[in-house]
Amino acid sequence: MTNQNGRFGIHGGQYIPETLMNAVIELEKAYNFYKNDPEFNRELTELFNEYAGRPSRLYYAEKMTKDLGGAKIYLKREDLNHTGAHKINNVLGQALLAKKMGKTRLIAETGAGQHGVATATAAALMGMECVVFMGEEDTKRQALNVYRMKLLGASVVPVKTGTATLKDAVSEAMREWTSRIADTHYCLGSVMGPHPFPTIVRDFQAVISKEIKEQMLEKEGRLPDVVMACVGGGSNAIGTFYNFIEDKEVRLVGCEAAGRGIDTFETAATINTGRVGIFHGMKSYFCQDKYGQIAPVYSISAGLDYPGIGPEHAHLHDIGRAEYVAITDEEAVNAFEYLAKTEGIIPAIESAHAVAQAIKIAPTMDKDKIIVITISGRGDKDCAAIARYRGEEIYE
């Protein structure tokens, strides 16, 4: 649904320095060629299946379904992918594309560290140099992921500017890209930034909804009633939604991080609290003050701790095709613990935001209805932080 200038309704576009314009034009040309190239698609499918472990399972959460007493719940297990999250789908696609374009170096931003780890992994696999920008605050919250990236051969640059979180890591990666373009591809981790990134990342993540559809038809012989996913920038959510956008009877629900609540300043719920603005290469919704200064956002989840949202989500919201709800830290932590105890699955704290919404709505739905929740990543990385949230200090 991208139009020619990379617009989704009024959102999207290419609000970047002139220095980068030829780089994104070159990227768009290359992508438009390779996305229809059988050899590229064969290689990518092989990487997905043999390396990342796709297709990921669509698991019937029977205990959870019975416990909640309403709609039937399925979990799309992106947490079972290699590197433990959906991020690998996009990274394998972009790294392969970058390699075909003759690039030898990948740079990336990361929040929780999942995208950084995935990029470092792809770089190791394909023999490319890798530099990951990570907010200094996040390098402390996610020290284990910093170590994983280094182990994989990447260098990690702690970003000290601004709030020292994900948005500052994106800004720094963009600055780095303007200073070194010829050999470097910016492997953006979400459906955000300037065109063509929101389209490229969405296409690589759309494998999630493609599989959900096939698996659901096989298991239930029909489409689900609701598909839901957590939303920061929105890559796993757009991947979950994409192949259902034309199926109007399927409700699309994105779960934003409300942090301490959407009536507080400590929130990252962009659609629920933000306004239209221009930042990080795109027009979309952003948390900002009345003068357009980007707000310091907050969520317990480093991966959702971002003041913007991808332009396609902004458009799906504008036209009423998708709903965006806000889930607080407390609700997400409860859902994190609930899924662990009920199904023996520890979800990423990001994904727990989607689980929390399912816990709210499943009991209100009839037993013949079906909900699919995308579990975007696994929660090992979050255990120490959740323990702290509950007042328990643990040491790794």
Binding site: Y15, G281, Y291
Partner: protein
């Protein structure tokens, strides 16, 4: 005819940049008056933005200092009104697209016209996205300044043809900040610009001393300097105006010697 042209009438232009409100508006005002006194031909006033993605660490620091003092776009407009009581040379704003968009682009640009701002530089607004702002700028006679980069290549002619005010030629890859050496073949870029536009062309990014300024002015119509001035503000704070004045004088002499 754009008022910005006046800056280039007497010879090569020296264009200093300052972030408004760093460390406070009173110091900014004094610095601008020193700049004018010491021969600045055009002044670039930066409106602070929380996340200046085209800036290096020095100007990022100035933005943070100004914002932590609570400086707003309205405060900057008041400063300009105050300055315009005495300052006659052209002045332009340099800020980010969201600062203009969030204020309401028409309200922002019409205010520029009212208070005597002659142009607008938005480093995150490339040719492809300019129409939304260009039509309003045209309606209120504010020049929307185009940037051309070392990577622009086949885009140079297209951008130059529609340029107004002056063309901001970015000297090197990367973000703002002082550099020991500028290696880009700027002369050949300027040649393409000249073949496609009569608008003056000034070079910025990485220029910190009189030798570099003279070199840049030799191949273009002027030199733009930001980070080297902000370093003086970082170092001297409220005492910076006289140092800024001395610096501007040295740079102007170098540029005019070309």
């Amino acid at each position: 005819m754009s008022k910005i042209n006046e800056a280039f009438k007497e010879g090569k232009a020296f264009i200093p940049f300052i972030t408004c409100g760093d460390p406070d508006l009173e110091t900014t005002k004094k610095c601008v008056l020193e700049m004018v006194e010491n021969g600045a031909d055009l002044i670039e006033l930066g409106i602070p933005f929380s996340d200046p993605t085209a800036e290096g660490p020095v100007i990022q620091g100035a933005n943070i200092r100004a914002l932590s003092n609570g400086i707003t776009t309205d405060d900057v407009f008041e400063l300009v009104k105050e300055l315009r009581k005495t300052v006659k040379i052209p002045m332009v704003f340099m800020t980010y697209a969201n600062v203009v968009f969030s204020y309401d682009a028409e309200k922002f640009i019409s205010t520029c016209n009212e208070i005597g701002i002659d142009g607008l530089i938005l480093p995150d607004l490339p040719y492809e996205e300019k129409e939304e702002f260009q039509s309003i700028c045209d309606a209120y006679a504010v020049d929307l300044i185009s940037l051309i980069a070392p990577t622009s290549e086949q885009r140079i002619a297209m951008i130059a043809k529609e340029a107004q005010g002056f063309i901001y030629l970015v000297s090197s890859l990367g973000v703002t900040g002082t550099r020991s050496e500028i290696k880009t073949d700027l002369a050949s870029i300027v040649e393409v610009i000249r073949a496609n536009s009569n608008v003056p062309c000034a070079i910025g990014f990485g220029i910190s001393n009189p030798e570099q300024a003279a070199k840049m002015a030799a191949v273009s119509d002027g030199a733009i300097v930001g980070s080297a001035i902000i370093k003086l503000l970082e170092k001297y704070g409220k005492e910076a105006p006289k140092y800024v004045g001395e610096f501007v004088k040295g740079m102007k002499d170098a540029v005019r010697s070309v």
